[in-house]
């Protein structure tokens, strides 16, 4: 340890090259090596001195982060003119460049087109300081309100479920206040202390207080009720409230029972609501869901592959529900799959089995494919691509053969477009360039030609996007999550005119994606380009709060992945029985999110006018033709 410390305390000084570079920058050409050494030592010492003083200001400012203003104040102490113009709330990363044998670190300063800033609609004025009082603790018990930290942290919930023999009852351990809430994880010595005692599995403490019962009732009623506004609120509450873990078993049972009953009754709307509850639960960062997966996953899988989900399969858009549930499934696989529970492989197995079965109905087939496709490009490559020929033949049989039933036909169409949608992007990646229709036909059979055109479109789309990126003047380095046009309030740190260069069509609400990993010190600045092409009449703002309430959810964006980063959107088609739909003109938004390296490029489009999904995809090119989902939603007519 002493070794380490000594290491740390070794006096470090700036390299002499820096001195030379600085000297050159002020016009001193030939600086002798000795002067460089002397200078660098002196400068290093002064810098350290200033840093030490700046620390004082940080401490008195009651912060953990040293800011530029601390440095300014420290300079003032030394009677040195502070450096003006370096105010930044965020970390300013150095960029590195080398060439000609010299290495340089510099700030990247973008040229900003003033006209763009001027033409940008003003962001909201940041809120003034406000004072909010709340109870931190009442008679020694901390009420579970959003202002307080979650009463039982995830680790605690996990410990409770994985080590059930240990007597830790969250919510009641305040009596032994000494081992209080401070330790997030239950102290390891607890185990030792209780070794001698007879261990009994504690009776499950699932009694809810009156308030909690009321809350539960309100929430569940709102979630499946008819008022969409209320539902949005309830889902928001489920997704954010920290004190829900005691109600979690009830929610879980509610959902699984609800799905069971409503699948039998073919109540599509209710199934959608229940899936949205699952989504909200998964979005809540304070819940330890692992314990209830045995109830939730069957419910979700049911919604993916059930033979019939609605009363009129020919008209209702149960496909959207399947898509949504498939995404949920993929998300939970990603989050919860471990080597012990093997969720992903079990799910894959189940889905593949029904896919391979010849007798499987089109609906189930669609669900299995959707479920598999959401699991990622690798799954598509290994499990779906080899099946393309077979599926193609099957689709051909329905399409070209004698008219069996309208339902089958619709089902086949959907499967076809689904396959095209998912496979095209994968093939575009793995297949070398010249896209030969004949080649495709031999490789993929019936679907070959269509696939070929899709792949080609995908490629051109990619090229087009790349061009647009090069052309556009709209590139602005947005540090972290300032991509906020309408954000709930705490934004605007950098003064009222945070330059968020986003062209926003009139009815668009853009929820900013939370930063991927907030603790990360300096994520590479991401460029966002938002383009909107609006067609036809302005859309009447319909009750599709669904996606807008969800797109702000943290989980989807904190799980960066190559496939399922798109916000799950339920697309409801006109004519379905749920009464929630409306026909609306097409409007396309493309959100391009590209890491600053500009090496990869993603596009993702969604076709809901009232919402836009910001994708955040790490690495790899995922490209989608913007009209293909549109086609898929249009086709049932």
């Amino acid at each position: 340890m002493a070794e380490e410390r000594r290491q740390k305390q070794c006096s470090v000084s700036l390299p002499t090259e820096s001195m030379k570079a600085m000297a050159e920058s002020v016009g001193v050409g030939q600086l002798q090596e000795e002067s460089c050494v002397a200078l660098s030592e002196e400068v290093s010492y002064r810098i350290k001195e200033i840093a030490q003083d700046a620390l004082k200001f940080m401490h008195h400012g009651k912060r953990r982060k040293l800011t530029t203003s601390d440095i300014d104040n420290a300079l003032k102490l030394k009677n040195v003119e502070p450096l003006y113009g370096f105010q930044a709330q965020e970390f300013i990363p150095f960029r590195f460049a080398s060439g000609g044998g010299r290495e340089l670190h510099f700030y990247e300063e973008k040229e900003v087109d003033l006209s763009d800033i001027i033409n940008t609609p003003l962001p909201r004025v940041p809120l003034d300081v406000s004072l909010k009082a709340h109870w931190l603790s009442i008679e020694g018990v901390q009420p579970s309100i959003p202002e307080n930290p979650p009463p039982a942290s995830k680790e605690q919930q996990k410990a409770e479920s994985t080590e059930p023999l240990k007597v830790v009852k969250p919510g009641q351990e305040e009596k032994g206040a000494i081992q209080g809430k401070g330790q997030n994880a239950p102290a390891p010595d607890n185990k030792g202390k209780e070794k001698g005692l007879i261990r009994l599995k504690p009776r499950s403490t699932h009694e809810l207080s009156v308030e909690q019962q009321l809350y539960y009732k309100e929430i569940t009623e709102a979630c499946v009720g008819s008022c969409e506004a209320k539902r949005a609120e309830a889902l928001q509450s489920i997704a954010t409230d920290p004190g829900l873990y005691q109600m979690l078993p009830r929610f879980s049972t509610f959902i699984s029972e609800g799905v069971r009953v409503n699948v039998v009754q073919n109540n599509l709307a209710l199934l959608i609501y229940l899936m949205r509850m699952v989504k909200a639960l998964m979005d809540n960062p304070t819940l330890y869901l692992e314990k209830y997966l045995h109830e939730l996953i069957p419910a979700v899988v049911t919604c993916i592959v059930s033979k019939q989900l609605c009363l009129r399969p020919d008209v209702d858009n149960h496909w959207a529900l399947r898509d949504f549930a498939a995404r949920l499934m993929a998300q939970s696989c990603k989050t919860f799959s471990t080597t012990t529970n093997n969720i992903q492989s079990r799910i894959t197995k189940t889905l593949t089995k029904s896919l391979l079965d010849d007798k499987t109905q089109w609906t189930t087939r669609y669900g299995s494919i959707a479920g598999l496709a959401e699991l990622g490009a690798d799954v598509i490559k290994t499990l779906i691509l080899p099946r393309l020929t077979v599926e193609g033949a099957r689709i051909k049989a329905v399409m070209d053969g004698p008219v069996v039933s309208n339902i089958d036909r619709i089902g086949a169409e959907h499967v076809q477009s689904l396959l095209l949608k998912h496979c095209a992007s994968v093939i575009a990646k793995i297949r070398p360039q010249p896209d030969n229709v004949e080649q495709y036909r031999t490789d993929f059979g019936y679907l070959g030609p269509m696939l070929c055109s899709h792949v080609m479109k995908a490629r051109t789309q990619a090229a087009l996007q790349a061009q647009q990126v090069n052309r556009t003047t709209l590139t602005i380095t947005q540090p972290r999550s300032t991509l906020s046009v309408s954000q709930s309030g705490l934004s605007g740190s950098g003064g009222p005119r945070t330059p968020s260069i986003i062209k926003v069509p009139s009815s668009l609400t853009l929820m900013s994606p939370r930063p991927g990993t907030p603790s990360q010190p300096s994520p590479p600045a991401t460029k966002y380009i938002v383009m909107g092409t609006s067609a036809g009449a302005a859309s009447t703002q319909q009750v599709i709060t669904l996606s807008s309430s969800q797109s702000a959810s943290p989980v989807t964006s904190t799980v960066p992945s190559a496939t399922s980063t798109l916000q799950p959107l339920v697309k409801l088609e006109p004519g379905s029985g749920s009464g929630l739909t409306a026909s609306r003109p097409m409007q396309k938004y493309i959100v391009v999110s590209l890491p600053s390296s500009a090496s990869s490029l993603e596009t993702k489009s969604s076709v809901l006018p009232s919402s836009i999904s910001s994708t955040q995809v790490d690495g790899g090119i995922k490209l989608e033709r913007s009209d293909s989902p549109a086609a898929s939603t249009q086709s049932p007519h």
């Binding site: 004082k56 008195h60 009651k62 206040a177 705490l490």
Partner: protein
Amino acid sequence: MAAVQGSIVDAKEEADIKSEPATDGFGNNHANEAGVLSASPGSSAAAGNNKPAAGAPEDQQTLLAVLQFLRKNKLSESAEILRREAGLPEEVLDPKGADSAGSGLGSGADIDGGDASALLSRVTVSAAGGAKAPTKAGEDQPDVNVVLSAYSQQGDPALYEVYYSGLKKFIESVLDCHRAELSQVFYPLFVHMYLELVYNNHEGEAKAFFEKFSGDQECYYEEDLRILSSLTKKEHMRGNETLLDFRTSKFVLRISRDSYQLLKRHLQERQNNQIWNIIQEHLYIDIFDGMPRSKSQIDAMSGSLAGEAKREANKAKVYYGLLKEPEIELPLDDEDEEAENEEGKPKKKKPKKDSTGSKSKKQDPNAPSQTRIPLPELKDSDKLDKIMYMKESTKRILVGADQLVAISFFFPSFSFFMSPLQGLTAVDVTDDSSLIAGGFADSTVRVWSVTPKKLRKVKTAADLNLIDKESDDVLERIMDDKTASESKCLYGHSGPVYGISFSPDRNYLLSCSEDATVRLWSLLTFTCLVGYKGHNYPVWDTQFSPYGYYFISGGHDRVARLWATDHHQPLRIFAGHLADVTCTRFHPNANYVATGSSDRTIRLWDVLTGNCVRIFTGHKGPIHALAFSPNGKFLASGATDGRVLLWDIGHGLMVGELKGHTECIYSLRFSRDGEILGSGSMDNTVRLWDAMKAFDDLETDDFTAATGHIHLQDNSQELLLGTYMTKSTPVVHLHFTRRNLLLAAGAYNP
């Protein structure tokens, strides 16, 4: 603010600005030092003989420097007078005699006279090593700095490592009981040897020396070591504050006689004058008789920039008792002549009674006399407030050791959330919890009303003329309803506001800022009334006296200043800290002021005399929170090291250590009856501690106040009553309402 009877300012014109010398009480220690000197080996003893009667060498050096300064400025008369006063021989002023006089001073201290005429430049006397390096010539230091340049060429730089490791080997080989005590020597020795090397331009050796031995030092010195490590050149030494502290003040060690003898014998045997000289010059060894202390005892007390406090420093009598509360009858006709002891210390455990309750005529023997510090007279409104206070007190939730379990259930607490990005830097709540104020990094001060009563300004002068001054509700009529709002913003500072304090009568607000000013704001007009300028550097903290009128401020300039609101200049300057004064608190009886500092010590100052009456060492980081217990007997302090230490003011002893926080503690507060101590920290928690038990344990403990050696048992866990996590909100301020509801405040940092 009310006029003060027999204003302190006039009375103390002479004693004004009585500052303790920065080199902390040399005079106190002459006797002791002389003892050390006479026992010193080698030629140091000879040096001692040579010495004129004036006293310790440092004093002489100081005098000589002053004399030189006077002469240089052609103030020969003053110089002559001073010389005679100090009893220095004539030849001191005589260039020729300088040599002989100088040779007697400070074992070979090499002091640069600066100019070639070298009034005071001395030939460096070889101490014992025999071989003497020549005087450094032409070193352009300001004359007064002569005092500071105490490092001289003392021998072969290559031998430093040998010396140090020799001593290390010796100390490692001594008996266990002495080892801990003698190990204290390592750190100051290391620092001074390193500085000597640097001072004498042995850069390489210095670096090697540092790298070799810095890892051995106690971890709580790490911060200083870091500063030290950056210091590699002689030029750096000038202007480095930390360094100045090392050189101007002696590092105080407390060592038992046995251990000291052991060390001395060893050094004598080895003829290790190098180390011996450093010990003599830069260390103050406080020798006591009795058992050597254990490692844990030493660790508890050490950690400060300049070692432990000398025992003498904490011997002064402190009147820690409370002042008598003026008796207030509900009909307000009676004047407060027949003041009764309402809050007498012995009564503290009794529940508060209303004003007609039992009275003890006895004056608290530990209380200062009522008029020791002139205090402002009570106004009618103050009396009304007192009555309110007493009424509320009766409703206070009583807590005590017997209700220990119930405490955490009886203490609801709630916290204020600010959602700003400006950065909240200071918070204060009025005593009656009706207003809360925040200081922000954007230089603003904001005041909120917590009650439904909104904040209103006084009407303009023109409007005031119109109102009926005879009416009963004139106080209500002067307020302008149009200005009513829940919060007001006060603009005036030009830097982050680091400290804020309400006056007890809620009419004024103090704020101090990076811009080096303290500002007084009126809460009637919501304007700035005065800007007190005196500190030249950022002011870190300020607080009103519990009786109003006076206030204290402390800042980066290492002094705390006592002000009265109606004087633009400070009444007292409390100097003595070796680094920034980071927090300041008034004693409940307003006769004392406690200051915490970055030098990791706490000092208690007498407001009347301006003397430092207590020095508490033991913290391992800058102190950021202080709190007096309501009975005035105890002090709690919190620092960046995450520990809360409890101090007995009367005995000048550490009496408890509360461990639990993981980050800097920014606020401490005792409950109204002193039973509970709340601490708020950067680690987003509020913790409650059983203060009563902590102090009770101590009183049953039979500690010897004489030696000041404390055995701290590690009972933090038993004393911890509860930990309350906030949601990413560092707790900046704590406040117990009159009914013992705990309020916590902090800025929410999502």
